[in-house]
Amino acid sequence: MEILVATLIITFFAAACGALLGFASEKFKIEGNPIVEQINNLLPQTQCGQCGHPGCKPYAEAIANGEAINRCPPGGDAGIKALAELLEVEVIELDQECGEALRPRVAIIIEEECIGCTKCIQACPVDAIVGAAKQMHTVIESECTGCDLCVPPCPVDCIEMPFVTDTPQTWLPQNPKLQLANARFLESAIAIKSIT
């Protein structure tokens, strides 16, 4: 008898807890995969496809499913470091197959040569090119991510991808620690020279 009561009580509790959990999982359901969103926020959003995926979101999904985190050249080492911190994995070097980490670039259309074919407009992943059929096109430089995707479709090769030039507003100083290392190196070199 006692055994029966105990079994019934445990069964009842188990059922109650199960029902509660089932209810909670329905009630507080999260739309989409939150880790994908977090990864996506760390990617540079150039939508360049150098990782082999059609955009940053698909690559974020792939990373969530176990793909390597070193396939994003625009993100560079800083991007890999941030992803490694989020996913708690080792920092690895950038996969050279995907391309090199270059300084940011911007697309510029040589407007005299543009024939107005709209092919680059269709290729631009962030709608940063304005123009219409048989009208001159131009790039909204502030919106351009420098992804390079507009260059191959252009039939007259009138798109250039120069590096963004540093201005005093975008300039970044070197870590003074490195300057210190340099200063100490020079000092020691002088010291060695004076001994020999």
Binding site: N40, P44, Q45, D127, E143, P168, P173, N175
Partner: protein, 542 residues
Amino acid sequence: MIKETDIIELSKYSIKGGIHPQEFKLLSNRSPIKELPLSKKLILPFQSDNELVGAKKIILGDSVQYGQELLATRPSSLVPRSLSPCNAEVSEFGFSQFGHLSTIPEPSITLLSKDDDRPTVFTPITDWKNTKPEVLLERVKQAGIVGLGGAVFPTAIKLMKHKKTFSDSPIETLIINAMECEPYITCDDCLTKEYADEILQGALMTAHITGASNILFGFEDNKVEAITILADSIKNLVQEYEDLSTPLVSIKITVTPTKYPSGGEKQLIELLTGKQVPQKQYPASIGLVVQNIATIFSIYQAVYLGTPLTHRLVTITGDCVEQPANYWIAFGTPINHIITSLSIDKTNLKKITLGGPMMGPQTTDFNIPTSAAVNCIIFNRESKVIAQSNDVAFQSHQPCIRCSECETACPASLLPQQLYWFSQSEQWLEAERYSLFDCIECGACSFVCPSEIPLVEYYRFAKLQIKQANIKQQKSDIAKLRFENRERRFARIKLERDEKRKKTAAARKQAAEDKKSDPEGKKSAIEAALARVKKKEDNANP
């Protein structure tokens, strides 16, 4: 020593930290103010708003008048109006150094001066007491007045902002900053000594614009002469108003002990009122507005005399200068011109400091022009540098020994050694958590550091990195949004096209079926005729 009177009072409050560097102020504050002869060449920055890139009002070879506007600016722009300091000819649009640490050349306008004839540019507003504050504010804006304490923030925006944004907490007190706590600099001191009455008028005008009912002058106790002269002027003014029996706002001078950096805005407020400005807020949120004394003088000039801000008082000092003094210098005057016209000994001169020795950047480029931000130029011999914080060539330093001297010296109540640790190891989140952005870069920590660590350089490095990372994040957020919008648009277009295709297919199918059941269309014709008859009948007997 200074005695307390009903006008002068000694500060009852104090600030944390601070240092007492050697002053070197006697070098330049005993000679009268002089005027520097106009330079043949003037280099002005080609600054403009993002939305008005290249919106210049002049072309190459144009003749410009004194006070003429060179570049277009939006009314609410943070970029000050660019005005010609003399009658000149536009000779070049190019790139020049303006003393930025990056040494990246910036767009510039070069003027060749013709003569130094300075007629009145704006109509003087002599009866300013009965003029609307808006009109005076417009004049402040027109005259291109910026804060002359070093931050060059457009004064009109500062004064206007207080009226609009904080209408529920009105400005009660106008604080006038005449602390001048950095060593060597004496321009505010000398200005007060020679133009005390004018400064008082300017202060009354500014109080009229902001609606402040108190004016507080903040002085360090090393400017005895200036304080006495200003106190006499205030006494006369009060007497004058009493004779005319017109009300006058309360005007006081508060004298504080000499200590660096008591001239920092937040430090000054604490010294004078005992209040602390909350983190990430402005003085206006506690009913205060702070203006530099030189800015107050230029407001007087703009309103009462109709003069635009094209010149400022600059302390020319240092041991290479034969007669250190304060000079009126036109904005854009290259430093080389100062060296030649004052016959400064260049033999031992390797680098100069623009501003005070604690915060001013040092440069080896003598072609850079002066601007509203440069209140002092120090021409010192190589060996004589008192603070290393802004050295051009990086000096080797010893490791941090955690002595916490810097913590004692920090006037912003920060932990400089922790900030140094997080900055050099690039831990931005931690640095921000320790309030890196509350650092005022005063250099007190570097000054006391026994390991001679250029701490401010590390903080500046960290601040710039964090700022750039934030800008990058914003850009990538925008790119993400634009990409997602595009994807959504494509999905919508595809959906619409599919639906249309489905509709046409269904219509086609329907037509084919109709044809099958009724090959010649007789049935449908009969049906249509019957429907017409029925409708007619319905209309006839409703």
